[in-house]
Amino acid sequence: MKLDRRTFIGIVVGAGLGAGAGVNLSPLPWKLTDDISIWTQNWPWVPVPEEGRVSHADTICQVCPGHCGITVRKVKDRAVKIEGKEGYPINDGGICPLGAAGLQLLYGPWRAPGPMRRLGKRGEGKWEQISWDEAINEVVSRLSDLRNQNKPETVACITSDDRGTVPQLFARFMKAYGSPNFVAGTSADATSSIAMELAQGKRASVGFDLEEADYVVSFGSGIIEGWGSPVRSIQAYSKWRSKKGSGAPTLVQIEPRLSNTAAKADRWYPVKPGTEATLALGLAHVMMKESLFDIGFVEGSTSNFNDWKEMVLNRYGLEDVSRSTGLSTEDITELARNFAKAKRPLAVWGRGKGTAPGSLYECMAILSLNALVGNMNRRGGMWANLCDTDMGWPDIPQDAVAENGLDTPRLDEAGTDEYPLAKYRPDALPQAMNENPDAVQALLVYEADPYYTYLDSTQVAKAFSRIPYIVSFSSYFDDTAAHADLILPNHNYLERWEDVPSPPELPKPIVGLSKPAISPQLDTRYAADTLMTIAKKLGGTVSNAFPWKDYESVLKQTLGEDWGVLSKKGYMEKRFETENQFAFYTEYQEPIRAEGSSYRYPLTLIPVELIRLADRRIGNPPFCTKSLETTELEGQDLFVDVNPKTCFDFGLADGKHALLETPQGKAKVLVHASEGIMPGVVGIPKGLGHTGYDEYLAGKGVNANTFLGVVDDPISGLCATWGIRARLTSV
């Protein structure tokens, strides 16, 4: 058949009409229309949260050492929101981003659903859930084997704090079992309490009365970025800003980077990193030379003043201090005068959030400024509160195995002749384990994430890989738990009773009592109950050391008469006053240097602590990671802050990748050209690069601890690392 134009059009039109009619007879258009209307309606797979009776439960937030009072809003038996508790003495209704995201920790998939035994390789994330009996029997058989072999000292225990009933039960277990290796975490407070021991003869925490001070000089403390009890410090700052006129307090920030605190300070003095102690003593120099100090306090309540004065006048000449810190002599003199002449001056110690112990000499120098103006135990000044971990429990029975084990030296060498002042030296553990691979045969980890938080991640990973048996009591699959062999999950902090120690930076300590805001959601148990069950099954003196029925009865008995107040009010003030006494530290010390050669590593890397990024034992919940600046994290890569001048010098481009190398490690990072950082300095955020948890946190960025090594403080023996030499090359 010949196909002419007319026929062709006829066929095409006919087919078109036919198809059109056919389609219209088919269900397709109706289906499409229906789909379009569904598109604009509520999709059935978008959850519809269940309604129910609303109630509120008060408890204490434990995601950081700030220990705020919180109120959990509940609908039926679900927790739907965490808010700051009105009237609580620490935070009065305020809350920080991490605290507000707490329910993501409670309900997140990163929680261990029950006792978990590792399948596959460590860190691979393959687990099987087993029964509590099976899990506990496994630990008991491991621990009793080691005890039968007379090697109780090869069991180590890591916690983040040694204050409170549960950490003390772990310490007690270790003593009864026969190991000296109970290692709690350290922080700026560990250093300042050693400083107070040197200054007063008694170990005491240093509290800072921010609210009442009117001239605050912060030596790198992130006062509004998580320092101390974060909400309380921010509220103190807010109160300063509410005061107008001549009485308005002044905040002076000393640090090489324009942190939020520096940005909000009345005056920012960018000093060269690591020269804070030099500046503090330079200020002291000016104050003493110009007789701008509290003679009454210095003569009446201090000792070693003349020796110290001589040392400071000789060693910290204005010109020298100016050269080392990079500040002009005029600036230093002006700052010293303003500080000394203020009505209630206060010098604040503890860099960033105060997570790093830091240099004892620097701490002493800063506290000496407070002593010079005589603000000790005074309104707006520094307050010393005795550290007390005596629980009033019966003596610990010990058999011969335990006695022998306890006679062996501590692995971290804390309290030995070499490091007499240190109570714990957690940062020394990985190296000690690597030098002596058989030293630790089993490791118990409670409320700590050493695999993530310890410095020098490569060394830590190596040390952990050599420990034959790791047991984590964590509620979460944190980095340590992810590399453990067995997880015996504790209740989440919203599910448990617990005595919560005071944040050490408070001038008037507040002890809190955490109450279950919600019933346990998973097959978890109190870590203390698990531990006591293990002890009872081990038998003998270990079992006898725990004469209590269960954890809740220990808690009630330990709190004694305070139980009534605490369970009713939720908190109480507990002050252990010290005398007004301060011995100046007269021995000159060189500043702690950053590790690495400046020839090979021309830059200085400093860790940066951000309030929107948790960097301690708790991983950052998704809400907080979502709130990070786009100049802090992009996709899976983190940014380091570099001054545009430095970018120019080293051929780095803003927003582009670069290789960051230090003597300890290297990794690819993104460069953020920022005018808020001193040339020659690189700032890296802490809190990213987790290996545990889940896709919302793991693998994002790199752990800043990968780049940092451990530098021992010559006086305290704690880790004094504040930075490290580094190199950045574009890739």
Binding site: T40, Q41, N42, W43, W45, V46, P47, V48, P49, G52, V75, A79, V80, K81, E83, G84, N91, G94, I95, C96, A100, A101, L103, L106, Y107, G108, P109, I224, P230, V231, I234, Q235, Y237, S238, R241, L258, N260, A263, P270, I611, R612, P622, F623, C624, K626, S627, E629, T630, T631, L633, E634, P644, E675, G676, I677, M678, D694, E695, Y696, K700
Partner: protein, 278 residues
């Protein structure tokens, strides 16, 4: 908008009895106090069932923030560089005239968004929205965000979702509602107590204002002389964002720093002339 103009507008309002608003909710945000901690952002996400995704978790272009804290810099080189944080909820523009033609309401073809004359709150009804995103283009403050994906919570996490705020579906625009459900709750409570109006500012607070540890965010009825915002908005340091556009927003900011005040009336962001993101 200068204070006198605003006063004039209010008088006009009161002139017509049927248009007298019962409340005019708004905020005064003290930028000298704001520490940029981000508690407002997180409290908002937790209160309003705002989802999150693992990929590009903090990408501002594709993820939803009702409250977003901007970081601004004065652009000067080290060490004269300064930084200021600006929390930015929906500005709940009043618009000009009696029609309350805010930029978003003017363009919405589906009456998804509307001005509530009782409270001054700009509403958003998700189920009406078909995702044309005209409002997003119109909003000079970038407060509106689009749901590019269905919300998905990791297993178990739906448990913390609040029944007060419905989770949104793919294909709709959402934005800050001044925690309108909290206003409804306050009204219910007042009704039970035999009152027809809520008078005390503590009865109704947004989640961000409640959370703010620095007390930088003050929320209340801008026309009620007993509310803190009434006085605070009259501060000589008070200003609003992009006042020259005449959107008449109900979020006031205060800052003692001139460069911050100046920056508030130019277009911020990548297109900024003198202002750069640090």
């Amino acid at each position: 908008m200068k204070e006198e103009d605003l006063g004039h507008r209010e008088t006009q309002h009161h002139g017509e009895s049927e248009h007298v608003a019962k409340y005019k909710f708004g905020m005064v945000i003290d930028l000298d106090k704001c520490t940029g901690c981000g508690a407002c952002m997180v409290a908002c996400m937790a209160e309003n069932n705002i989802p999150f995704r693992a990929e590009d978790i903090n990408d501002r272009l594709v993820h939803n923030y009702w409250m977003r804290v901007y970081k601004m810099s004065n652009g000067l080189p080290f060490p004269d560089n300064e930084v200021c944080y600006i929390p930015r909820p929906c500005q709940h523009c009043e618009g000009s005239g009696h029609h309350h033609h805010t930029p978003c309401i003017s363009v919405c073809p589906a009456t998804v968004t509307d001005y509530d004359p009782e409270t001054g709150i700009v509403s958003q009804i998700y189920t009406r929205c078909f995702g044309c995103r005209y409002c997003m283009a119109a909003c000079p403050y970038h407060v509106r965000v689009f749901n590019w994906w269905d919300p998905k919570w990791p297993k178990g996490m739906e448990q913390y979702l609040s029944p007060d705020v419905s989770p949104r579906m793919r294909g709709v625009v959402e934005k800050c509602s001044f925690c309108y459900h909290r206003f409804q709750r306050a009204k219910d409570k007042a009704y039970v107590e035999g009152r027809t109006e809520i008078t005390d500012e503590h009865e109704y607070q947004t989640a961000c204002a409640q959370a703010c540890p620095a007390n930088a965010i003050t929320f209340g009825d801008l026309q009620n002389p007993n509310h803190a915002v009434y006085k605070l908005k009259k501060s000589p340091n008070a200003f609003r964002l992009l006042e020259h556009l005449g959107t008449n927003p109900k979020i006031y900011y205060t800052s003692s720093r001139p460069w911050v005040q100046e920056a508030a009336d130019v277009y911020m962001g990548a297109e900024g002339i003198d202002i750069t993101h640090p």
